[in-house]
């Protein structure tokens, strides 16, 4: 898959996953918060009724009942109804909440599973109400004792508790919310399964879209490479023939200013053609292997040492041995060759090559004393870009752009900056 298309699919999919996680997380947080709030309403209601919804319960405590609770005189088994029922409507919307609906429904009272225990200052435990079947009264008593110093929250996964004081006694009310929580867990399960399905579907869609969207770009890229390769081949023969004709002219009439000029221009064009060749020949699908870059770098620099000596450039080399990288052998040679050629062209008197490895990051630093003004100059990696010190040198500004293509294709990064007149090219693999 083309690199740009792969990037598009991955980034789009990551965005969708991020948005989906945010959306589903919000829904589920609200769902669980709602369940907690509803449970708190129930415990609050029980607290308001002195720990029991049962009218036949502990009557001696009802004198302390809050004003907003009315006692239903109808009989022992009927539930307490809130004052808001006075409107006579069974279901109405009041202050953002359905009254007599959900946790406010009087039916909830009869179906509610809960217990309340009162604990006095001496630690004596008194049962106020117990409507549970999942746990025993002994368990409930020990829960109450363990929760007496808390205020409200969840206990034993699906039980909501509230601790409050009436007549200097601590009341612990615990209600079973497993049915209500199950609804929340169901939403959570649906979110996870639905989210996974949506991610798979969206990935398929992005793959399809990516192919459609990037086809023209990939076609253009392929055609550009073919064009450059053809252009390079078409130039090779004329250059060779011009070279031969110039040689013939020089042999027949001796070398003159014109033949020398032709020779010089042909050499320039030959270099340009070679650069174009590198541009078209570089292929991201070049076979990648584990190569010893320390050895290769040392060999190539040593090969060129005489050229640095000829130009009186002091060459410093610091290569950590045994560093290897997973990349195309040809591509790495091309990178080093371009750095060496660049250094030979632009160094005034000093150049250095450093290769180090820290953790898993390989760092290749190449410096040349250029005398250029300080600052970043990543533009040297752009095609056909040459800096002011390139005047009078051969080349077309393609070499370092080839380096950029190769490093990016190997998932590396590179930068260039001038510091104290020294150009520093940094490559991270």
């Amino acid at each position: 898959m083309n690199k740009a298309r792969k990037k598009f699919v991955v980034l789009s999919e990551l965005s969708v996953i991020l948005l989906l996680i945010m959306l589903l997380a919000t829904i589920n947080i609200i769902s669980f918060a709602q369940a907690a709030e509803e449970a708190d309403m129930m415990t609050d209601r029980i607290a308001g009724m002195n720990g029991s919804l049962d009218t036949g319960g502990k009557m001696q405590q009802r004198m302390d009942m809050p004003n907003d609770i009315v006692q239903n005189p109808g009989g022992d088994q009927q539930a307490q109804l809130p004052k808001t029922d006075r409107s006579g409507k069974n279901f109405r919307f009041d202050n953002g909440r359905f009254i007599h609906f959900g946790p406010d429904s009087p039916e909830m009272d009869s179906s509610l599973r809960y217990f309340t225990y009162a604990i006095d200052k001496d630690g004596n435990v008194e049962k106020i109400d117990f409507r549970m079947s999942a746990i025993t009264e002994e368990d409930a008593e020990s829960w109450a004792l363990s929760l007496q110093n808390s205020s409200t929250g969840w206990t034993n996964l699906s039980y909501r508790y509230r601790v409050y004081e009436i007549n200097n006694k601590k009341y612990v009310t615990v209600i079973d919310q497993s049915r209500e929580l199950w609804q929340c867990y169901r939403i959570l399960i649906i979110s996870v399964i639905g989210g996974a399905v949506f991610i798979i579907i969206s990935f398929t869609v992005f793959l399809f879209l990516g192919r459609r969207l990037f086809k023209p770009v990939e076609d253009a890229d392929r055609k550009q490479k073919q064009f450059i390769a053809k252009l390079e081949n078409e130039f090779k023969m004329p250059l060779t023939v011009i070279n031969a004709d110039t040689e013939t002219l020089e042999r027949q009439g001796g070398a003159n200013a014109q033949t020398k000029s032709i020779d010089k221009q042909v050499r320039r064009m030959t270099m340009l053609v070679k650069d174009l060749g590198a541009l078209s020949l570089f292929d991201e699908s070049d076979e990648k292997t584990r190569i010893d870059i320390s050895d290769q770098m040392m060999a190539m620099i040593e090969n060129s040492r005489s050229k640095f000596d000829e130009k009186n450039i002091k060459l410093s080399v610091d290569i950590e041995p045994g560093i290897s990288a997973y990349m195309s052998d040809n591509a790495f040679k091309k990178v080093l060759n371009e750095l060496i050629v660049n250094s030979l062209k632009f160094s005034v008197s000093e150049a250095s090559f450093t290769l180090t490895k820290h953790k898993d990051r390989i760092k290749l630093i190449q410096t040349n004393d250029t005398g250029l003004p300080d600052g970043g100059c990543d533009q040297i990696f752009d095609r056909f870009t040459m800096l002011e010190n390139a005047e009078g040198t051969s080349g077309a500004g393609l070499g370092l752009s080839n380096v950029k293509d190769i490093i990016r294709a190997s998932d590396g990064r590179l930068s260039a900056a001038v510091k104290n007149g020294t150009m520093i090219i940094s490559i991270f693999l």
Binding site: F235, T240, V241, A244
Partner: protein, 201 residues
């Protein structure tokens, strides 16, 4: 010397015919593969043949066999990249020249292949040898002019530089491995490319 140039680009043929003429060589120019066959079958003798890689009708690769049977050294002109895999094929030209090249490189290549073909010299390093007139490594695998130059330079302890030598190094190493020899070409920091015996054998 009689040189056959088979190249469809007539300007190329003309330019190099004049140059070779100045070097006192006789040049015959043809423009496709069938003309090469016609010329050699007619009994015309050549000291060397220069073939364009993409010659019309019969390509240069297919002309290698009939020309080698007549002991005519062949130089192939190529515009593509010279790779080690190409240099390890069972049938090879005596030299490959990659476009664009200088006239001196062209004339130098012709002189070398003709000289080698008539030479009785054998280059030897321990149990590895190249008999120049055969263009074969240890008498069995074909080698090219580039490999012979590399081998000779290493025997003379000369330092050979440049990226163009790399495919020849790889090709020679592959052939040495194929011949089950324990000699390999390695790059030594202080000396450049050298033939060394591998330690594990």
């Amino acid at each position: 010397m009689n040189i056959l140039i088979a190249e469809q680009d007539r300007d190329f043929s003309s330019a190099f015919s004049i140059l070779l003429g100045m070097e006192q060589h006789t040049v015959t120019t043809v423009y496709d593969g069938t003309q090469v066959i016609t010329r050699v079958e007619s009994g015309q003798t050549f000291d060397a043949a220069v073939l364009d890689e993409a010659l019309p009708r019969i390509c240069a690769e297919k002309l290698l066999k009939p020309l080698s049977e007549r002991n005519i050294p062949v130089i192939i002109l190529t515009s593509g990249k010279l790779t080690a895999s190409r240099l390890t094929k069972p049938l090879l030209a005596n030299a490959y020249l990659t476009l664009p090249f200088l006239p001196a490189e062209f004339i130098g290549a012709i002189d070398r292949v003709v000289k080698n073909k008539t030479s009785s010299e054998t280059l030897r390093f321990e149990d590895v040898y190249i008999k120049l007139s055969e263009y074969k490594l240890c008498g069995s695998l074909p080698v090219t002019d580039g490999e012979i130059e590399l081998f000779a330079a290493m025997l003379r302890h000369e330092r050979v530089n440049g990226g163009r030598i790399v495919p020849y190094v790889s090709a020679l190493n592959a052939k040495l491995e194929q011949l089950d020899r324990s000699i390999r070409i390695k790059y030594l920091i202080d000396e450049g490319y050298r033939m060394v015996r591998t330690q594990n054998e």
